[in-house]
Symmetry: C2
């Protein structure tokens, strides 16, 4: 079984808003929870990473399960993805994705520059045969039976054609089966009305393709249906998906600030807010990126997982575990089988 | 001054989820707050509307300031907008928009089918010369100096070209000056990254046009910047804008339900929630559609205001007041001057 095959999960040691210490801490946490056969490779500046390992694991408990792959360069959070990918051939992202291609790494997690991770994955790992464009898939809390829904694409492919969305639906179906543990996911198309005739040209044409795809298509879902659990998977283009995801990220903070304004004027309300604090922080945790642990870049021929720039050590740990699980569940083999078959049908 | 000119504001008496009673109640509320020269015309089934007026204004206090224009048909909330507009020539929306065109009505508010209102306005009222496509503009709470930001388009034009967005920016600038009371609104482009090179093709090309437009362009704003007050006006296509608006509408209910889950497990938290209730309902009111009172359809040659299907009497009242204020502030004359001038420059 693939689950017991010894695998190596890599992590971009230089990516993320909070520096290599957070990444190394997350890697050490992951080693405690991953199977004994699984190794973690830190990719980045050797001396920096070695120093962090000595500081965070002074007893050397990680032993030979923690590797370091030196990378002379790194891509900053604000750098232009295309330029960085073209120029920095020795960045941690370039080296990590090349190690995937060479089969020396089984998965790669980065909390760094998302655009650069997507570009490096496409350049160095390449697409699964038959896949037109990749899609980033992430989970958001929703009132589905699993408590989550998968939304894709959230930012890999900003300009989409209907056929891309049809493939996103098939890839999202496969990913949701393992990520949400749902046997037959309900797939919805993000649109601005319920009827098939509604929406922009892209959505209308994608609707027709999704209706014929080998998935359980439940039709259009609107912005307000996200949380109502009408679909386990919501398909959209990378522009709309990214806007929605960032909107969602900011909404909790915003409602919190508005509520704080209201509360300020009343002593009773302030006391009430104090008594609610534990519930509020539970809620915050449920909505936290760290719980999810990263968005897989579906459609590339390797397990490439993107994390939030603000990833905590726990988020890094969960991202590494997501990578290991992505490999163990043979997601890419399933995608290749499904889209290869679809291609064969189109050709034949 | 235009403010003292006697005007007539019409309302679609048959539109909205809750029936004509709510509309008539809102119209009566509006008459109390509008100037004595302003009249309100109810458009819809005469007998139904007369019965509601008798029920809600038994003393006949509204007198000659409340008119009824009979419409033999009405457009249902779920009806296809194009079909309804083509077939129902005597719907309240068709008659209301024709009355605008004939100059017998100065403004029209409808809480009914948004798509049908847009279609009827385009067909019967037509666009302001020089305007390529109309845009629905609405206000959402944000941490700007005015406490709100205007977002457009939220659903009139699902498929946009860069030039449409450039015009939306100019129209949004004019509308925000009066709606937010901001002297020189900061205009942002909704996008998925800060740099001009980011986004889909539409956003990248629109960025270049906005940078040259006669507005205070502050560049790209991301989904998370909505609430941070980085822009007074956020420009986007009608597909993305509608998704975001519906998402926003559902978010409060969703966080409330999640919080209720959390609170259930603790007596202290439940007590705290009870003490917070007044603040929570204040907050709900601040986010309520009713406060805003309708979204003007910018770019059509009349004051056509769209309300939420769930409009309360107060929302209808505010929608009618928004229509009167739109006329009084000469928004359309300003749009025509700005876009006519722009056209002349392009031609000349």
């Amino acid at each position: 079984m693939s689950e017991s095959r010894p695998i190596t999960v890599g992590v971009d040691g230089m990516g993320g808003d909070d520096g290599p210490g957070v990444i190394v801490e997350g890697a050490l946490l992951a080693l405690r929870e991953l199977s004994q056969e699984t190794r973690v490779a830190l990719i980045g500046d050797q001396r920096t990473l070695e120093a962090e390992v000595r500081r965070l694991d002074p007893s050397g408990s990680a032993g030979s399960r923690l590797l370091i792959e030196h990378a002379a360069e790194s891509v900053g959070m604000g750098e232009d993805a295309a330029t960085a990918t073209r120029r920095k051939k020795d960045s941690s992202l370039a080296i990590g994705t090349r190690l995937i291609k060479e089969g020396r790494l089984d998965a790669l997690f980065s909390a760094g520059n998302t655009g650069a991770m997507v570009a490096a994955s496409l350049l160095n790992v390449g697409r699964i045969p038959g896949v037109l464009r990749p899609a980033l898939a992430t989970r958001i809390p929703a009132e589905t039976p699993s408590g989550s829904c998968v939304i894709l694409d959230v930012g890999a492919t900003a300009d989409c054609k209907p056929a891309y969305l049809a493939q996103f639906a098939v890839m999202g179906d496969i990913y949701a089966r393992s990520a949400l543990g749902v046997a037959n996911p309900r797939i919805g198309l993000l649109n601005i009305g319920e009827e098939p005739s509604k929406g922009n040209e892209l959505a209308r044409e994608a609707h027709a393709l999704l209706a014929r795809a080998p998935i359980q298509f439940v039709g259009n879902v609107e912005g307000r249906d996200f949380f109502r659990g009408q679909a386990d998977v919501v398909v959209t283009d990378g522009f709309t998906g990214n806007v929605v995801l960032k909107f969602l990220e900011s909404v909790l903070g915003w409602t919190g600030r508005l509520l704080k304004d209201e509360v300020r004027t009343s002593l009773i309300a302030r006391l009430g807010a104090l008594m609610l604090l534990p519930s509020l922080s539970n809620l915050r945790r449920r909505l936290d990126y760290a719980e999810v642990g990263g968005a897989p870049l579906l459609g590339v021929a390797g397990a490439c997982i993107v994390g939030h720039g603000r990833s905590s050590p726990r988020a890094v740990k969960n991202g590494l575990k997501a990578g290991a699980s992505f490999v163990a569940q043979n997601i890419n083999e399933q995608i290749q089988a499904a889209l290869g078959k679809e291609m064969a049908e189109h050709v034949g």
